[in-house]
Symmetry: C2
Subunit: 397 residues, 2 copies
Amino acid sequence: MTPHFPIGFSGNAVHAGIKQTAGKEDVALILSDRPTVGVGVYTQNLVCAAPVTYDRSLTPSEKIRAVVINSGVANACTGDRGDEDCQKMATMVAQACGLDEGQTLVLSTGVIGVHLPMEKIESGIKQVSQSLSSDDDALERTARGMMTTDTVTKKRGRQFELDGVKLTVTGIAKGAAMIGPNMATMLSVVMTDANLSPRDAHQALQDAVSETFNCISVDGHTSTNDTVLLLANGAAGGPVLEGRNLDAFRATLYEVCEDLAQSIPADGEGATHLVTVEVHGCRTRAEAVKIGKTIADSPLVKTAIHGADPNWGRVVSAAGYAGVPFNPHHVSLHINGLLVYERGAPVDFDEAAVSKSMAEERETSLLLILDEGAAAARFWTTDLTAEYVRLNADYTT
Amino acid sequence: MTPHFPIGFSGNAVHAGIKQTAGKEDVALILSDRPTVGVGVYTQNLVCAAPVTYDRSLTPSEKIRAVVINSGVANACTGDRGDEDCQKMATMVAQACGLDEGQTLVLSTGVIGVHLPMEKIESGIKQVSQSLSSDDDALERTARGMMTTDTVTKKRGRQFELDGVKLTVTGIAKGAAMIGPNMATMLSVVMTDANLSPRDAHQALQDAVSETFNCISVDGHTSTNDTVLLLANGAAGGPVLEGRNLDAFRATLYEVCEDLAQSIPADGEGATHLVTVEVHGCRTRAEAVKIGKTIADSPLVKTAIHGADPNWGRVVSAAGYAGVPFNPHHVSLHINGLLVYERGAPVDFDEAAVSKSMAEERETSLLLILDEGAAAARFWTTDLTAEYVRLNADYTT
């Protein structure tokens, strides 16, 4: 479905001059007409940006009203002044929208080590706060306002009915690796008009993120700014979700997060393939994720896929150095559905056919099967191309 | 100095037809005229090649006489037949040179998942065993016999005197990342005519490798075949080294291993820079290595260096996700000797000058200083170039 703002949410974005290109939206604002339950999941990088510290201190909350987002400058590695600037952004939104302190969350993405141009931010916030709308064009512009090197906006939404009440879950996201001096960062805001307790909202977001946004990589470089926020304003009506209704919400949230998460490597810088790495037969999900991430981050696996080379040796050997104990004689691998390695030994397979399918399809599937247990995980990544190198190297300060 | 075979060692290599290109050496043999103390340090990859399993079972030993090396086929992921083939290689050498079983170590590098062409191996071993020599040309050919995608041979040697006895430590190595379907692997054989106990030899090799060969990466992909062997035949005369004499040997071994280890990223596939990452001020050396490796493996750091971009944000943020706790407000960074980030905040520096030095010098130095303790480590890597991607992707099975 075309994603829409859930009931009670509006948004928009304007060009405030932080990005060089005229007309490119760089200050976005999301507002709920009533307080929302607001929860967040944040980067695990020790070196984290000012807005991450700020939002962490405010969430979980039951009174969030707004999220302000700027692109172009990440406000990371900016010391005390960065913290003050972040606080000021929130205060500007509070003044422009008539909110209390502590009702505004802040997201920033862009160049690191550079201070925010606060006059531009201020004029941007004033402008955008006067043009908020809940129509689909405004949602599209809001999503554009968080883009850096993304080539497409990332919006996904689902609707479902519980006891006669129609609920909406809609998310926007940005991310396509990093470029130039920028930390391109992964940011996402998921909005819903469902009625959730802060505790359930936080647990639902954590669980969904751990299997979606935390299972993607483009280049394995964890940003200083990564943030996923969930805002639930209950505007659809009905009681606080619990039991099977909460489960239904969680399932929908998972789907929206999975759609958004996949859209990031699908738009990976210079990428020609979206790669799904599935790892089965592990003792624990954490071990399956660790193996999946190690395969997904191997430049040799990524270049082989770019070259349409069904090079199972690179995949199997990457699993071998993931730091997870397993019996290598019980490992099997499928590429694009075809068995290429079985219980520790090569299999005669039609290399030309697998190579052809890799060359022709944008999506590549790697399925690694161990024999250690019943846990599994999926991980998404891109291939590695000369264009990625060009995008990230051909910049001179 | 030009490296020479230590006393009592000889070697050579021939083209046996495993590599496609006519004349390219692919079977090499090293022989000591008397039993050597032979010790090894091996890949930590769970998926390890047949020769790794074989050599592990024989070392440490006091009776090694020979090392046979083939390039072109790695004998990895080859099941039971791979183990049998490896054993046969050793037996062929024993027959050709009149050795006992268990006196020959085996190294293989090249394509994985392919069985060794045993007839070619056999004829190669027969040929090479009849052309052994201890001259420098033979050492050069021996080094060539282990090359895969290397563009230069890697030989380093040092001589020193202890109590009037001249001792030689000479090593050869190969490795330049991976290419096509090959596991290009890091292999090294270090020979010495010093007199060592197996226990001291093993400890000396482990210590040297942990600070040299284990502190390099080209693409972070741990090979199935990585092996470093040390052979000490005592032919220079004198008693078993101990005390300060042992220390002097250890220092020389460390230097030879460092020279050899650096030569690998210096010859990295497609690389235009050799990057030294120094991490100071850590609680433990292991933590310093972990941070150094995370920085060295970041594609964003590597592409920035390729583009001569003094992008300190990428370096600092890579340290932040290394999984080592530290206070990010006490972090400083120097690039090519210039302070660019000081105690958690950007520093005004001459970006054009740093960029120029990065563009003009083949060697780039990153020095990250934490404030957690007194431990430090060095790590060496390459930049990441479009040529690396081309080498590793533009192969179709």
